[in-house]
């Protein structure tokens, strides 16, 4: 077994994801099978391979990544707040996090 019930609970907790008892067991079994399949990559020796951390070479985006840092007004605050679950302009209200 590649992944245990405790692993799934720990990972779901890291991801702030509530799972029911039945979801826990179903996902554990399915992810176990997927990890078993993914394990085939270990047959490949990649000792001297550099990881591919981005798709484009620097010269393809140099202009973009080095753009000037300029303020541009977007004027979307009203629209954004209008559809928020619990807005109180200019804020998003959330359950209390600070006790005093």
């Amino acid at each position: 077994m590649k992944i245990t019930r405790e692993d799934v609970i720990r990972v779901a907790d890291l991801a702030y994801l509530e799972l029911s008892e039945s979801e826990l067991e179903i996902y554990r079994a399915q992810i176990d099978e997927i990890l078993e399949y993914i394990g085939k990559l270990n047959e490949l020796d990649t000792t001297n391979v550099a990881p591919m951390t981005q798709v484009l070479t620097d010269d393809q985006t140099a202009d973009a990544t080095l753009r000037e840092d300029i303020h541009v007004r977007s004027d979307v605050a009203g629209d954004v707040l209008k559809h928020a679950p619990d807005p109180e302009a200019p804020f998003f209200r959330v359950p209390k996090v600070i006790e005093r």
């Binding site: 992944i3 692993d7 799934v8 720990r10 990972v11 779901a12 890291l14 991801a15 702030y16 994801l17 509530e18 799972l19 029911s20 979801e23 179903i26 996902y27 399915q30 992810i31 099978e33 997927i34 990890l35 399949y37 993914i38 085939k40 990559l41 270990n42 490949l44 990649t46 391979v49 550099a50 990881p51 591919m52 951390t53 981005q54 798709v55 484009l56 393809q60 985006t61 140099a62 202009d63 973009a64 990544t65 753009r67 977007s74 979307v76 629209d79 954004v80 209008k82 559809h83 928020a84 679950p85 619990d86 998003f92 959330v94 359950p95 209390k96 996090v97």
Partner: protein, 480 residues
Amino acid sequence: MSTNWTIDTVKSALVAKKLSARELAADFFNRIDAQNPALNAYLTLSPERAYAQAEKIDALIAASKPLPPLAGVPVAIKDVLSTRGIRTTCGSKILENYFPAYDATAVERLESAGAVLLGKTNCDEFAMGSSNENSAYGPVKNPVALDRVPGGSSGGSAAVVAAGLAVASLGTDTGGSIRQPGALCGIPAMMGSYGRVSRYGLIAFASSLDRIGPFATNVYDVAAILQTIAGRDPRDSTSTTAQVPDYASEITKPVKGLRIGIPKDYFAEGMHSGVRAKVEAGIALLKSLGCELIDIRMPHTDCAIATYYIIATAEASSNLARYDGVRYGLRADDPTLLGMYRKTRGAGFGPEVKRRIVLGTYVLSAGYYDAYYLKGQKVRALIAQDFRDAFTKVDAIVTPTSPIPAFKLGEKTNDPLQMYLADIYTVTGSLAGVPGISVPCGKTPQENLPVGLQIFGPAFGEARVLQLAHAFEQAGGASL
């Protein structure tokens, strides 16, 4: 009234004043009302915005002013692309009431070119799936056979074009989500190179893989849509400054003498016999057009699915962290902030998304990062190298798009791994960042279902890909 519109026939009908852009849009909405209940391909219609745009086009025509290239062309947009003021759900309950405050660059560019936005199309939740059955709003039906899936994740965008309910549409492709539904619905469908089209306003699934691209009824229209949406956008730092060639003039160039790589690694066991027969006939057709066929090896092909499901789920687990119930979408009730996060995400995400968040978080977590994520990035480098090596010897690579034709609804829903394996021919190009198209390549003799031929080109070699696809189409590839 005709239902087989193309960009050219729309233009000539409007210019000849056979009908107005408004009448054309109304005709599409009428047919959508009649046919969409059976297909479930549109999630949201945008008649106000469509008619406002159509009236602008009609005013240009009335004033005999020059028309933009897509004037009056009715288009549909996958519901993972942001549309200002038009509900954008990503096929998820968590965004059931999300109204973006801005347009995706690709959407903005289509409308600037005169296109009329009919509405938003159904898709697998957050573009995660190969059958469209992971949508929180029910599956799309394949217009070719209503008891079968349209493919995914851009199933709605493929279905509306195949059914004549849009002239063209935009989808997104992370591991095959444009090309595979294009193949299963029998229409051309393309993803450009990574970096060719701005991802600004594309609601992210896996940022190093996600690409936006067109569906249309013919390759010329695919080229015209790609032309419109391609090119540098300062709002996406991964959109490239590389020049966008004029595809319309490139695609009519002769294909005689082009070297086509046939990777035998893609023709292993597991392929449907009807798909194999048609793809082999398609390759023979390319040969008859004067292309030179060259056997090549792409030795890391069988590692692609495993690599893809590490990289894509890892990036997804990070990207989907933003759905916390604070700023938009669903919020579940709980007296504590962390409890609210957990319940919101537990209630708002569907099974495939949860499974991928758990898997993606796991492969990134302490103790497993090197074994899975880093390993995946290394194998990805080898897969990209396979493509670079191949393109030193050939001009394009031809493969099947999908190992199987459209399958029955519900046939694979209980076995995620089997569903993932259906992406085997498409994920390689996704990982490598190269452009790819699927073009219709006949129908299976057994079930009379569409088969797709996939053509890959080198990075930023879209013109070559389109040129071959166009020649293949003109030579009768669709009726092989």
